[in-house]
């Protein structure tokens, strides 16, 4: 029997089509890996990219030369442009503004053949530090209302360059789904003086049906109303609204959790294409309400990473209704992932 499930964070219903239940094997498919000669992201090819904005490299190595471990560059084909004003204006019933923003690429490792799941915990934590540094820097630009890191892995998830990389985008508006999460969290806090996501973590840790990983620092779980098969939330157990406030030590612990989680997905689903996105409180949020925000953490948002393997096609139904149809109940997905050996590949 199919089931409709309500997501209190995303304020949406999802259809879990249990009768068509799908196990990891049903999603195994041949993966395409695009061939690429002279990859611009490889070490030695630094001259083929725009000059770097940030790099983690030894102090004696030169910018835009080999020796780096993580490198951040402007996207050569940016979706949003850094120069200019918004020139927000109306056109009859419509509105338009210039696509002002930042679009950066985080090259995660010099080695072309290493996927994110292959990085060591230390290497992965340097990628997370690059996110933190760039997010803090982009916040200085008052035109940007939201800054986020995300990653597409695999051609099916639109990663056109196979060399492992993620992206940073700054946009002049709070994205709709983030706005919804901010609103549901704020409403919950105003009513109950508790963080909605902290409450969700408590419930997930009590039932444990959907928990994939719990090391006392981070919880990884399949959301009750997952829109996609094997969708996951990675959430710090300690309340924090803002990813950029994480210490180096916390980013090491996150790297450890993320590495294990990506390893479990890879082992269960044979290196599936996936996307992940970092949801953190917007810079504006920090300025709302309280002058002491750096000292006391706002309680009405809780940063997290959302991971979605790309296993099913989104078609007319989802696009035309806003409903998602998910053939794998999250309890089953969590069980498969718990039982997976993070290092094995099927």
């Amino acid at each position: 029997m199919s089931e409709l499930r309500w997501d209190p964070l995303k304020s949406n219903w999802v259809i879990i089509t249990k009768g068509r239940g799908r196990r990891p094997q049903d999603f195994l498919q041949r993966r395409h890996k695009p061939e690429m000669t002279a990859c611009p992201f490889c070490t030695g090819n630094e001259g083929k990219t725009p000059p770097e904005i940030y790099a983690h490299r030894p102090n004696d190595s030169q910018a835009n030369q080999p020796g780096w471990q993580v490198r951040v560059i402007p996207n050569k084909f940016p979706a949003l442009h850094i120069e200019g004003g918004l020139e927000n204006n109306a056109e009859g019933l419509y509105d338009r503004m210039n696509g002002i923003g930042a679009h950066e690429v985080v090259i995660e490792h010099p080695d072309h053949d290493k996927a994110m799941a292959d990085l060591t915990v230390e290497e992965l934590s340097e990628v997370l530090k690059a996110y933190r540094t760039r997010m803090l820097d982009l916040r200085k630009d008052s035109r940007f209302r939201y800054i986020f890191a995300f990653k597409n892995f695999g051609v099916e998830a639109s990663a056109n360059v196979p060399h492992s990389h993620s992206q940073l985008i700054a946009v002049p508006l709070i994205p709709p789904l983030v706005a919804t999460e901010l609103a549901t969290c704020r409403e919950h806090f105003q009513r109950k003086e508790r963080c909605l996501i902290c409450d969700l973590l408590d419930q997930e840790r009590q039932t444990r049906d959907r928990v994939v990983h719990d090391d006392g620092n981070f919880l990884v779980y399949a959301p009750f109303a997952s829109s996609f098969p094997f969708e996951l939330m990675v959430v710090p157990l300690e309340h924090s609204h803002d990813f950029t406030l994480q210490t180096d030590q916390q980013l090491l612990l996150l790297a450890d959790t993320l590495r294990e989680t990506l390893g479990r997905l890879r082992a269960s689903l044979r290196d599936p294409p996936f996307s992940f996105i970092l949801h953190s409180a917007p810079p504006m949020h920090l300025r709302w309400g309280r002058p002491d925000y750096w000292a006391s953490l706002p309680s009405d948002y809780h940063w997290h990473i959302e991971i979605a393997p790309k296993l099913t096609n989104v078609a007319g139904f989802e696009w035309g209704t806003g409903f998602h149809m998910n053939p794998t109940p999250p309890e089953e997905a969590a069980e498969f992932l718990r039982n997976a050996e993070p290092t094995a590949i099927l």
Copy 2:
């Protein structure tokens, strides 16, 4: 320069990435057509499907036997099930209800090799009449809050059976995107005593940049803030909130417009995969406010068909933010489609 555009109907911003502008040629790709032996939708194979719910067939032909022109059957693998109660209940912070609904298949033509764009105007109008009849019948079930017809064409748009068909779904909730359209239309009407979609039609007919087809009965245009390349709206110029109130004559005119529009897409984009969905006022809507709804048409919704070719991949960015990124400005898409010869295939 990229541009952000506001859609007053969907209450959402879209990013038009003009700098990456893509012409129809950029989207041409090899289409997959699944091989199928013994297609259950073909005439002669009626016994391989569940018994028909509706058919357009000569009076002297028997149900579930050849002779039909359009045939509606229950989906053999339904996403939602017709039997049972909702059993709506809470589970801590979450809610769930049974996936009650109807899921029917409209087989559009007995011939396996005819696509919707190949049907004659009369044949296509019989498909639209099947939608109308089934929608009216499903409305009698008070558990259903919304009933809609949609179509996926092509494997890339998740049509697993190649024989031309569309689907009817009844759901126990108003879908989120429909709820948004109902809300934006209602708010506009309450403020201005005009229909939002009628106002949009007026603006589109004045500027004409985004108009693809205007025969005085139906307007086909690329929405100002199209989420996808070559997205189209097909809207009756005469205000009507409810598709099921359309006369046979109006459905013939719609069939003519739809046929031409699908022909233009086919000619421009070499038989692209696409989805379309019919948005009409929900049955509930008819009961809101006014007792005389059958006589006087509510002014705060306006039925229409939305068509989206499936040319790009939706990836991490869209999924994690709710923003869509569209590389083809709708003015360019409309120009390509206006210049296409509806019957030619590239």
